[in-house]
Symmetry: C2
Subunit: 305 residues, 2 copies
């Protein structure tokens, strides 16, 4: 059976999988992202993962033959290269650096491709923001049922809008960015925890410093979403990524604070993603499908390794 390799490159984890033409995830595998060891080690880890997942393998008695690779990465990215990532410190990495050249590989933006997966598989709205929150924050801007990329494809960098001018420093070089307050990584670091989940748990148990960090994160998100709403008037905002696992502890106060920030218009619907953390993997799978399509016709089975 033909499938595609999908890899969603996250700040702490590389999420890989093999995906069937109908979108079913046939195989899953995770590896740590060696982010602290520098950009070259991250690139080497990704290309080794690509090579390993590209080999035919038998799962539950079925031979799976990968035909293309979809690679979703954070930061600024074109179909030719990974231009910049604040999380990894890389600049202008060509798509070929991630591949051994045996299968066609499509490079894309993690959040935009995850947004395409939400649009393809989730409930969705014609005009929506899909905002995964994990190590960083970037949004997929859905306008009139299409993903909008901007003049150069760099739209959606919501994590670096200045919600608190002169505020906390951000790895991007600015101060007061949304991500410095509200990314899962920032929330954990500010409260001296390993994960944002720990912070939510401590806050719920009445711990004052954790509750303050959490409230500041929710308020920063409310400011950013109020701005997005005033500029683009979306019908729905979907929070995804690891932070969305906080569920009502996130969405209930966020809805209230967003409504309080919008005096003369109603707030759009705010919900957590239905696809959850699979959105990134399914989005990378859609990228791989595109790589197959661009290669042109024929039976995709002929492209097996």
């Amino acid at each position: 059976m033909t499938c595609v390799v999908a890899i969603d490159v996250g700040g702490t984890t590389l999420k890989g999988g093999l995906i069937a033409p109908d979108g079913a995830i046939l195989h899953r595998e995770r590896r740590p992202t060696p982010r602290t060891e520098g950009p070259d080690r991250v690139i080497a880890a990704i290309s080794a993962f690509v090579a390993d997942l590209s080999r035919p393998r038998t799962v539950a008695g079925t031979l799976l033959r990968p035909a293309a690779v979809g690679l979703a990465v954070p930061g600024l990215v074109t179909s030719e290269k990974a231009v910049f990532s604040a999380a990894f410190g890389w600049r202008d990495v060509p798509a070929a650096a991630f591949s051994d050249g045996r299968l066609p590989l499509a490079l894309g933006h993690d959040v935009r491709s995850a947004g395409e997966a939400e649009l393809a598989h989730g409930p969705g709205a014609a005009d929506a923001l899909y905002l995964p929150i994990g190590t960083g924050i970037a949004g997929a801007v859905v306008l009139s049922v299409s993903l909008y990329g901007g003049a150069a494809g760099w739209a959606g960098q919501i994590g670096h809008i200045p919600v608190r001018p002169g505020g906390l420093p951000c790895p991007c070089g600015q101060r007061g960015c949304l991500a410095a307050y509200a990314s899962a990584a920032s929330i954990a670091a500010r409260a001296g925890e390993t994960t944002a989940e720990d912070v939510v748990r401590r806050a719920a148990a009445g711990d004052e410093p954790a509750a303050r960090v959490w409230a500041e994160a929710v308020e920063a998100l409310a400011l950013a979403l109020a701005t997005y709403t005033l500029v683009l008037d979306p019908a729905m905002i979907v929070i995804g990524g690891g932070l969305s696992l906080a569920g009502d502890a996130l969405v209930a106060p966020l809805r209230a604070r967003l409504a309080a920030r919008l005096t003369f218009r109603p707030a759009p619907e705010v919900r957590v993603s239905a696809l959850g953390v699979d959105a990134g993997l399914l989005g990378a799978g859609l990228l791989a499908r595109r790589a197959l399509g661009q290669q042109g016709g024929g039976d995709v089975d002929d492209l097996g390794a």
Copy 2:
């Protein structure tokens, strides 16, 4: 000769005119907006202006017969009603309230219709923000050569994005809105002057308080434009309205501050509008043309009053 009535409703001035099918402005007239006398007086002043301009008149030996009315108003607006304006304090004013019913009248958003005029007549870019700054601030969001209105038509309310959370109060009920720092009206009021031009002149002459107000206005604009750029990646930002008359005194420091706020991507081009203060009138003219089109075929000359 058939023409259309165009009225651009501003916070201090009602700008009216008669516009030829080719976009030439055949007649101009201005009246004060009785804003301080309450919403009912403003509505009465607009409908009297509509009635007066709708009468046939001879200009330079040519009989001009108006065939439709285009009315561009600020705030939240649909084609049926003026929903809300912080400047005028009105709520849910039906389009019929502005008309005596003799000519078809099209109601529209002042900034979006001015943006359509910029798109139709100016240099423009496929992905741009057109941002007129006068009594208030709202933007026309141009995406892929089309004006984008959002899910309910309320996109572009950039004047009320929270650039300084907890900052200066705004008539909308929030604090720290862009308009509280950078509208021409706010700049003048903060420096104790009648117009923003006076503030720019005093700042240029070395007056410290005026220079501080001006610098805070430019910085607030830079924050808002950095946010817009990160979210939507425009190729061009066009500043219009009265404040655009400041020219280089506005654009030079704004370009520098915007670039400084964007660490990992280039800034889009920033320029002042080529149509200047006529953009609003020409935009209202485009609304009137639409009212004619919606009425259906026939010789528009038959529609003369």
